[in-house]
């Protein structure tokens, strides 16, 4: 879908980047199966951990503070609530994933849990992005005027 608002486009680009990275991880893990991870696998896991840490602090916080209230005010409170619940579930999984993926942690020993968490996060992120792309971003196209869009894009920069 093509978006006309700056903020929708920005969030959409971030969604695409997130999905590309986590899609790569999901595929790597599927190919690796139950075998222990290589150094390259662990590097990819750490890249994903860094990405998700940034995502949950910056991207999620922006949506929760600035966008979900707009959605709720337009009569779509249940969608805003659903997306916020998913943020909470992703945050909880991302926190544990970050702990296990730390360079200091023994990733080889914690691999089964790390792998399971990675697959869970990949699926949660895919499902969450699907919902935001179908509901939040199209709604912003209607809810935001040019001025508010510019202001939101400025504050998110």
């Amino acid at each position: 879908m093509d978006f006309n608002r700056h903020i929708s486009r920005r969030l959409h680009e971030e969604h695409e980047a997130t999905l590309a990275l986590w899609g790569r991880l999901e595929q790597t893990l599927a190919l690796r199966g139950a075998k222990p991870p290589t150094e390259e696998d662990l590097r990819l896991v750490r890249d994903c951990a860094a990405q998700i840490a940034d995502e949950v602090t910056r991207h999620f916080a922006f949506e929760e503070q600035d966008l979900f209230p707009l959605l709720a005010a337009s009569g779509e409170g249940d969608i805003a609530e659903l997306l916020a619940e998913e943020h909470a579930a992703i945050r909880a999984a991302a926190r544990r994933f970050g702990e296990l993926a730390r360079p200091a942690a023994d990733a080889q020993a914690g691999w089964p849990e790390l792998r399971a968490l990675a697959l869970e996060l990949a699926e949660r992120l895919v499902s969450h992005v699907q919902k935001e792309e179908m509901s939040l971003l199209p709604s912003l196209e209607d809810l935001l005027d040019e001025e508010t869009d510019q202001a939101l894009a400025g504050s998110y920069a």
Partner: protein
Amino acid sequence: MLASVARSRLLPMSVPFRYFGAAVAFHVLAWAALLAGAREVASFPGGLGLPFAALHLATLGVLAMAAIGATLQLLPVATRQPLRSVGAAKLVWWLFAPGVLVFAGGAALYAPRAMAPGAALAVAALALYGWLLGRNLWRARGMPVVVAHGWAALAALAGLAVTGLALVARYEHGLALDHPAFRGAHLVLAAYGFMGLLALGLSQFLLPMLAIARPPTPRSAYAALGTALFAILLALGDYVAAAALAGLVAAAIHIVSLERSLRARLRPALGPAFQLVRASWALLLASLALALAMALGWAPPRAGVLLVVLLVPGWLLTFLLGVLQRIVPFLASVHAGSRAPLASALSPQAPLAAHRVLHFAALAGLLAGVALDASWLVQAAAAAGLAGALAFAAFFAGVLSRLKSARVPAPA
């Protein structure tokens, strides 16, 4: 009740799921009716009876039922418009489900008088659904490609209801009409028109969404739609060869554009549901190729029955079941509450794997049985189809049961 406009585009779970549940039940009934009437299938000349009942349990009970449920939930998302009335959406089900049951039951028992009230209920339900769909499309703000397909499907729905009522009036009151022409128009408007155009339109955003891919370009979507409409008009005008050729072009544009979109997906794994989707596309092309062969006089014996098999359990049912097995757990996870279970955790995979094997076996057996005029093969195929439908019902029940468990609050 009807005045209650939905505030949000997210409907209560009971609305789409009552349609999906009924479609799952009618799916079992359709194969059971086919199994009971298997001896009549290969040489079925048309008219009432168990094959007719099985066909309408599949088209109205499964395809239209699930399409109504899916569009009531998905179209407001695409059009950025809430549904006009949740009460009306529920009423459609209360008219349609018993209507289909009475209609198909009457047909199975060769009782046109029983079919008429069933048809009246079903047509009333479709008219109310058409009003809901039309209101939503009229105010649509997003996805013009999907909206255009919606309008085209709505026009086909009106045509299929009119031709359907005329055919019922012929059976009940002996209304004089050109029966083969009306029957052909009804088939084209139902399969390629209403269901086919909805499938084409919803595919434009649903399949890329499920695969995490960019949708096809509007140009390719409009080209496929325009060519498909042209093909339907040609078929209604009895230019069958030209219609089949135009239909093949439309289907090719649709499939190639979606395959291009899927190739550029961000999530490598498509999942087994897409095996059904891709098989359904092959069956769509096969149905159009057979229609062309029939028009040119090159068709094998029993081509009319083969065409219906390729179209209904082939293209449309295979596509629907592929999509349904992805959107049922997706929508269930949406309604799961704060514990947000994963869609994969809500999906029992074993019944789906069994269903896939049994469904493909049923299709292959049905096509071979009709082609060879072997009623034992049709019977075996219908038994496989029935077992597959039961497996799909086990999947649906499994999703609901897992959802119920996920909704139970964790002990403090």
